[in-house]
């Protein structure tokens, strides 16, 4: 299993006109163009702004990779994507970080089948992985797990 990078990065210029309407302009750049504030992204953004009366609000670069050998999803009582385990984390500035994991393994749940077992190594390992590697949208560290509950698919009241 390995992540294979796409040969080009996508550049999206987000324009907003005086009436507040949004429009985008799309390009592909060399995979070495990773910073939207310099290089080819900046050059195209500046040149595009030069011929537009709209406000260039955001310059975005998207980099994509695909798993070369993803394997096969396995069967279980909650194996559908609409069965989700909703994690509610809190960052150091108090902001919420919400992540919903689809198709959760039943082994990570408590006996009520509704809440995640915090002492399960997969659950605690997920918290540790986020604390060590992820941040909130504002760049703040993730501090603790407030709750983790299973979300039932809509239309299924009991199971």
């Amino acid at each position: 299993m390995a992540l294979v990078l796409e040969p080009s990065n996508e550049l999206i210029l987000h324009f907003v006109d005086y009436n507040g309407k949004h429009a985008t302009s799309l390009y592909w750049l060399d995979e070495t163009e990773t910073d939207p504030a310099v290089g080819g992204a900046l050059a195209i953004a500046n040149a595009a702004q030069g011929i537009s009366n709209a406000y260039l609000s955001v310059v975005e670069i998207l980099r994509r990779a695909r798993e070369s050998a993803p394997g096969s999803a396995t069967a279980g009582p909650y194996d559908r994507f609409s069965d989700k385990l909703k994690f509610f984390f809190v960052a150091e500035d108090g902001s919420p970080v919400i992540i919903e994991i689809g198709s959760p393994k039943e082994t990570v749940l408590n006996t009520d089948h509704k809440t995640a077992n915090r002492s399960n190594s997969a659950v605690s390992g997920f918290l540790t992985a986020l604390q060590d590697n992820a941040v909130s949208a504002e760049g703040k560290a993730i501090t603790y797990l407030q709750s983790a509950n299973r979300i039932r698919p809509s239309g299924r009241k009991k199971q």
């Binding site: 994509r64 990779a65 997969a122 590697n133 941040v135």
Partner: protein, 153 residues
């Protein structure tokens, strides 16, 4: 530059349905296969029966500025710029809310010799490429469109 980089990882369940998770990493991360992202994916893989299929990393920069008030053309009005790549395949790019000064007297075609238009077409030819990495080489033509339909007025 944004305070963080958004990562979107997509999974597929055993019925073929796809779902995605978004989270943020610090803004120094530039590779989808960065160790920080791989570590989070590994932790999620233990929690789920689905399999990871794609990773998308979004880096954003917000330039300072403001839209021109009472502009002649709004975002529905687009400049349609046509190019070809090194293999002769066509590529087109749209710029919204055109500056009136780059239009010909007929207000439909765009003056390709205009200095602002030249700056744009040269930037595209220098830096843009096709998704498969074929470089954009030739500027073909440019004209104004509104909602994908040519204006007649």
């Amino acid at each position: 530059m944004a305070l963080s980089t958004r990562v979107t990882i997509c999974y597929q369940d055993r019925y073929g349905f796809k779902w995605c998770i978004g989270f943020h990493v610090d803004n120094t991360v530039v590779d989808p296969d960065d160790a920080k992202i791989v570590a989070v994916i590994a932790a999620i893989n233990i929690l789920t029966r689905a399999v990871n299929i794609t990773v998308e990393l979004s880096k954003v920069n917000a330039p300072a500025g403001a839209a021109t008030s009472l502009a002649s053309y709004v975002n529905e009005d687009k400049g349609f710029f046509r190019f070809t790549d090194e293999d002769g395949s066509p590529h087109s790019y749209k710029i919204p809310s055109l500056v009136p000064g780059i239009l010909d007297a007929n207000t439909e075609s765009i003056t390709s010799s205009n200095v602002l238009v030249l700056a744009y077409t040269n930037a595209v030819k220098t830096y843009a490429q096709g998704r498969g990495s074929a470089s954009i080489q030739v500027f073909v033509s440019a004209y104004r469109k509104e909602n994908r339909k040519l204006l007649k007025r």
